[in-house]
Symmetry: C2
Subunit: 224 residues, 2 copies
């Protein structure tokens, strides 16, 4: 895999020692996330909304309604910034100044391309497989009108910054801080609860495999 | 408390039935979050980065380095969009089309004001109290040079959209879908792990109260 190229858009300016240019790190961050924040410029102002994501090769897939002004602007070529953040913990230093968060974060810049009608179903299945692995086999097929009502967009993972401070020390050696004060990290992770059955489900219907698979995936990714 | 006003910027356009205009709901979303995504426009393109947040009355506080181009632009009056997302679960419908995520989300539009030097320490203590309650009493005071190196910004919670679909049914009644297929929600929450002591801490130093308090707060907020 080629390294992520550095450009004026992607060169980290602050705490640059945490920048990672390994493309595999970017893909791991995307693959470990269910959602991200997608930003565009509208009438000169930033607008950033949460979206579900899934990777397809060297692209991130997102989808929305064909009636959405936000997604239509992106489909029309508005530049986007996709921000994927894993908050891994709070880092307690011996000063508030050096205290911080542990995170892995990817910031992807680019413009999206619209997935053409003949590729839309496959792309939505890829997205579904990421968010709810195995679920597509448990539900009815997509309808033509559902496909027609959905915009699917590809954002290339070509121009991206990755920052990861998970492995760093909380403080520099020899910084003169008082070592008798506790320093360390409080880890944060995403965990799953027990599945909640909708009252619209026939009595006695068991929780399906796809839910268990998703739970396992979230737990495995988050513990990494 | 007054309701959140609707404007062209804040009126939800898609799935508008999930819009909430109760200001208390906005404050709950902010208070329950450690981080958010902050977006600006730079050279005509969106740039969105993760930031720690804390509420101070009717404002959200964020901070960054005085050397940061991103924060300097915001201090200089660049419009911002602050997006706070709580991903609460995955909602399994009987079709992929109706499947979705459970979330509470706030999208705040505005411009930030710079906290003046004489108010900076108090604002940073407010932020610290939100992110690491009680920690400021366990560490040394802030230094003048640390304060001088930090930009603290206030983003007013004046113009904001709140969307919350946590209480909705996965599917409409009478939609004709097969009730023998399981539908429901897989809850997601943020949980804390065991604190990890930095190797730079003197042997035998106990984990302090502030870490336990933060852990309790994260757990309580996330279980809500």
């Amino acid at each position: 895999m080629t390294d992520l190229p550095l450009s004026p858009l992607t060169r980290v300016r602050r705490l640059a020692q945490y920048q990672v240019t390994d493309r595999a790190a970017l893909y791991d961050i995307v693959d470990g996330a269910l959602a991200a924040t997608l930003a565009i410029v509208r009438d000169g102002r930033p607008v950033a909304l949460p979206v579900g994501i899934g990777r397809d090769g060297d692209d991130v897939l997102v989808h929305g309604s064909t009636g959405s002004d936000f997604f239509r602007r992106i489909a029309g070529g508005a530049p986007v910034c996709l921000t994927v953040t894993h908050l891994l913990g709070l880092a307690y230093a011996r000063s508030l100044f050096d205290s911080s968060m542990r995170y892995r974060c990817a910031v992807v810049h680019g413009t999206a391309s619209v997935v053409p009608p003949e590729e839309k179903e496959a792309a939505l299945l890829t997205l579904s497989e990421h968010l709810m692995p195995g679920r597509s086999l448990e539900v009815r097929p997509m309808l033509a009108r559902e496909l027609a009502a959905t915009l699917v967009l590809r954002i290339p993972l070509a121009e991206a910054s990755v920052k990861d401070n998970a492995g760093s020390l909380v403080e520099e050696d020899g910084d003169g801080e008082d070592r008798s004060v506790w320093a360390g990290t409080l880890p944060l992770r995403v965990s799953v609860g027990e599945p909640v059955t909708s009252p619209q489900t026939a009595a006695g219907t068991p929780v399906p495999d796809s839910v268990r698979r998703t739970a396992e995936r979230v737990t495995a990714t988050s513990a990494a």
